[in-house]
Amino acid sequence: MHKFRNFVSLTSILGVSALLTCPTVANDSLSQEELEKRLEEQQLLLERQSQLIEKQQMQLEELQRKIDNLSTKNSAGDTVTETTQTADSTEVNTETNAEIELAETEDPGPTPPGAEEAPTQASAQATGQQSDLNPNVTLVLLGGAQAGGAPDDEHKNTFFLQEAELGISAPVDPSTRAEAYISFPRDESPEVEEAYAQYSGLGNGLQLRGGIFRNEIGALNSTHSHALPQIDRPLNYTMFLGEEGTHTPGVELSYLLPVSWYSKATVSVSSRPNHHHHHEHGEEGEEEEEEFNLFPHSDHNNPLWVARWENMADLNDDTTLNLGLTHATSKIDSDTLKRSSLSGVDLTLKWHPAEDTYKEFVWRSEYLKAHQSFQNIPDTDHRDLGGWYSYISYRMNKSFRLGLRYEEADSPIIQDGKMKRTSAILEFIGNEWNSLRLQYNHNNPSWQKSYDEALLQWNVVIGPHGAHKY
């Protein structure tokens, strides 16, 4: 009942104050125009007051209903025990509290604001907690299982943790940002996959990056394992750049060209990958089978240059076409190898209708050509290796994605060897942070009998919303 009286008095006070704030008599010296303006203002004021009263009346009615409810409950429940009555009244209490919480934004009125009213970042709805200054930490877990595989495959019919990736990122200052990704890969010691600072204060679409980063080679070298379109990297990447791709310490400049379509050029210079594949536990003396890499570590420290030019055009509202060109080159200067380079072209068609949040179709094809020029070898002065893949990926709805991939690549290890592979992928997406992929590969190498394998991957992410790559 208290509240009821409060509302009545509040309403009357507001009414009276509205009357009091009206200037009583207009000055004779005012022009008609000004008078009209004042009249309009007063009318608006009056309207606001009546709105307020209307709203309060509604609240009043609501409260009255509740009181009625309560009294019917109480009178009907003469036989109920004391405890349930208390429970009832607490319920009503929380309800009223909730309503107080649901108070609306105050009507700002028709008078325009001053420029000084614009919120600065400091006054915006920041929580102001010290913990906001902690960097974002994200952990990606890629659990896996494999059935079947190549005759010499050590992962045949096993479970494993394909990779655990720890990502840490935060702004350094208003124009600099730092990110680091520590990878715990299967069978290998942990390594810094990426750790770089990005400076965007140059303006004009220029960005500078320094540190260890995945080189912008082709469409997929910069993509982390968990974000790949299939469980494994395509053959042309794994055969020429190693299982996990290339990441090197250096600097990179990217430039968003001011043309009518999206066009970005990236150039980086870095020190050559210092190979981690000399296994630390190789002390048994046996020579471990070493993975081929086009850009191996060398004593001469010749830099690796990478240039990528990416262009994207909207074919219509739902469809985009992306064309990428890559060239990477480095002097090697080893006993037999003079220079290595890799050139590539990739084409991606993406369809994503606006009215369906989840539906998406992607078709991507990419060709990579590796070129090695030799020295001190009598019969030959160079060799070229080629590899390509083409895949389609179709997300049907919130939960399912289907994919198909076909690829071919020349083997860098087996003379005139060629590997062909066909893959089918089914992905079940629980939500953004939890998905399961099943992939079936049919491998057809020219140098041995064909074999099949089935891969399973459980992709789990904890941490804040990660950056979505387009």
Binding site: E106, P112, A115, S123, P171, N431, P464
Partner: protein, 306 residues
């Protein structure tokens, strides 16, 4: 080495040529959603050019970021977002990639439109993913209350006046006119819904709290047990029982949600299932905020009156 040198020279020359051709016309404002676009267009009139990132009918939580947006952002004079983590999945990385420092969060020409809004459903306690995809800063769908739209217009007007002082008079004028238009429409909407004060509805996602709060309606429950989480059949049975107890007549869902669950729920309870837009432009004939709200209010009135 010769090749890479040549390439660098080529890129450098492209840079020099293209930076000369950059033209400038009006104030380029990039906004994330259509409600913001409606406000900026009305306040700024012909002084501004508005680019909206969220396409018509797109769920603002999930936007497939197209690199072509980076072009608009690169030449933008200002960027306005809804805030309260609505665009968290895509706007930050988009702004980072665009490299236009002045419109990045924390800088002068970036605006979060939620300033001055009384935010509802701010979670208390620890927010982790056991709550589903909960918004840690509170419910971001505040533009469904006309009062909040007036406040947004006010914040945006102040912002535009700060970054473009020469246009102050036009912005002031635009603000007052927009305020009056919204205010008049609001009276109409309130009058139409007044007979149904206290009526309960069920919504798919927790999107409509600002709307129901403003118009004196009640939300009896959501189809999603937690934001972004699909319901189990036991949870649906529970919801049906609640709906029958509270005499719910209407189920409201946004266009992008599964149609099968609300349809079967409507069949089981005899409710009317309404697909209502939460942004202008989601369905034909609702390209302005007022048209969209007209549509929503009329649909609700006709469903509740049965």
């Amino acid at each position: 080495m010769r090749k890479s040198l040549l390439l660098s020279i080529l890129i450098l020359s492209i840079f020099c040529i293209t930076s000369l051709v950059q033209a400038k016309e009006g104030l380029n404002v990039v906004v994330t959603t259509q409600d913001l676009a409606d406000i900026v267009r009305n306040v700024g009139g012909n002084r501004v050019q508005v680019t909206t990132i969220c396409r018509d009918g797109q769920d603002p939580h999930f936007v497939e970021v197209k690199p072509s947006y980076l072009r608009s952002l690169q030449k933008a004079d200002a960027f306005i977002e809804t805030g309260l983590s609505l665009e968290i999945g895509w706007a930050p990385s988009l702004l980072r990639s665009a490299g236009n420092t002045k419109i990045m969060p924390g800088n002068s020409n970036f605006l979060e439109a939620s300033a001055g809004i009384k935010v509802l459903e701010v979670p208390t306690g620890k927010v982790d993913r056991t709550r589903g995809d909960a918004h840690p800063d509170g419910n971001p769908h505040y533009s469904l209350s006309p009062t909040n739209v007036k406040q947004m217009a006010r914040t945006i007007t102040a912002f535009l006046k700060r970054i473009d002082p020469a246009g102050a008079a036009q912005y002031d004028n635009g603000y007052t006119n927009y305020w009056k238009a919204i205010d008049a429409a609001d009276k109409r909407w309130k009058a139409a819904l007044k007979p149904y004060a206290g009526a309960s509805i069920v919504t798919y996602h927790s999107t409509w709290i600002y709307f129901t709060n403003h118009f004196g309606l009640k939300v009896c429950g959501h189809i999603e047990p937690k934001p972004g989480v699909s319901p189990s059949s036991a949870q649906l049975n529970n919801l049906v029982a609640n709906m029958q107890a509270s005499h719910v007549k209407v189920i409201v869902a946004e266009p992008w949600f599964s149609k099968s669950i609300p349809t079967s729920l409507a069949k089981r309870t005899g409710c009317k299932y309404l697909t209502l837009p939460i942004q202008p432009g989601y369905i034909p004939g609702t390209s302005t905020y007022i048209q969209m709200m007209d549509y929503n209010v009329n649909s609700l009135v006709s469903a509740l009156s049965k």
